[in-house]
Symmetry: C2
Subunit: 145 residues, 2 copies
């Protein structure tokens, strides 16, 4: 964990009124360096000896609430998390980009450049959030064949 990155994570925690604990810093560091969204099971596999399962769930939930990370359900219904790119804040997410779930490697990609198009839905339905998950075979897996 580089020095100025650590500082950056600490600032992020403080800014959100969260104590800067080792577990939180570690989770932030891992999520920040991954190229795709990350599930609790994956994280547990990495830090399970150092951080308790429940703590991990709670950290992820807290981070999501604070707008530090956003949640994507993959095709198995498992939650995956990725760092929010820009302007998210407490209970105010702006991550309406498309996600891609590879059927082969199971990775969940944030397609940050692909926004979810506006929809015309029946009057009476009040939209709070939209989640578009595309599944198929990812770039890497296609290349590998």
């Amino acid at each position: 964990m580089e020095q100025n990155e650590t500082q950056q994570y600490e600032d992020l925690l403080v800014k959100n009124g969260l104590k800067r604990t080792g577990a939180r810093l570690q989770v932030l560091d891992i999520l920040s360096h991954r190229e795709s969204a990350t599930s609790q099971p994956y994280l547990e596999n990495v830090v399970g000896k150092e951080i308790d399962r429940v703590t991990l769930y709670r950290i992820l939930k807290t981070f999501e609430e604070k707008g530090i990370i956003h949640r994507v359900l993959d095709n198995h219904g498992t939650a995956n998390y990725a760092i929010c790119s820009n302007s998210c804040s407490e209970h105010n997410h702006h991550d309406e980009h498309v996600h891609f779930n590879c059927n082969n490697c199971l990775r969940v990609y944030c397609l940050d450049d692909v926004k979810i198009p506006a929809l015309k839905i029946e009057k009476g339905f009040q939209i709070a959030d939209m989640n578009l998950v595309v599944s198929g075979i990812c770039k890497d897996c296609n290349k590998a064949n």
Copy 2:
């Protein structure tokens, strides 16, 4: 269960090479008469004394594979199922309409008229399926306040 409806369900099963069992007919009947998508837990609550949990899961999986029903994950990651409207067949679904998950009543609506817009995503990603779940407050729940 009306007589000609039963006949219709039996035909559907036979057409898909499935034996017409009481459990399957019952599941078809229930799903056909519901206005929103339905989860296994809901079904179990209704027919749990007559049909085993595991049988229910297997029926749903089989129906999905045959293109009789389609699966939608709600915001909790729980699978919900709805009858396929038209031209779905084995391993060949065409249910690319938007779904609406109410945060209040938790219902999952099939917005059959709202199609998922085409997307331009990076070359290399091969799309097999798309799922767009919109969450918010549904028509009924908005009315009720």
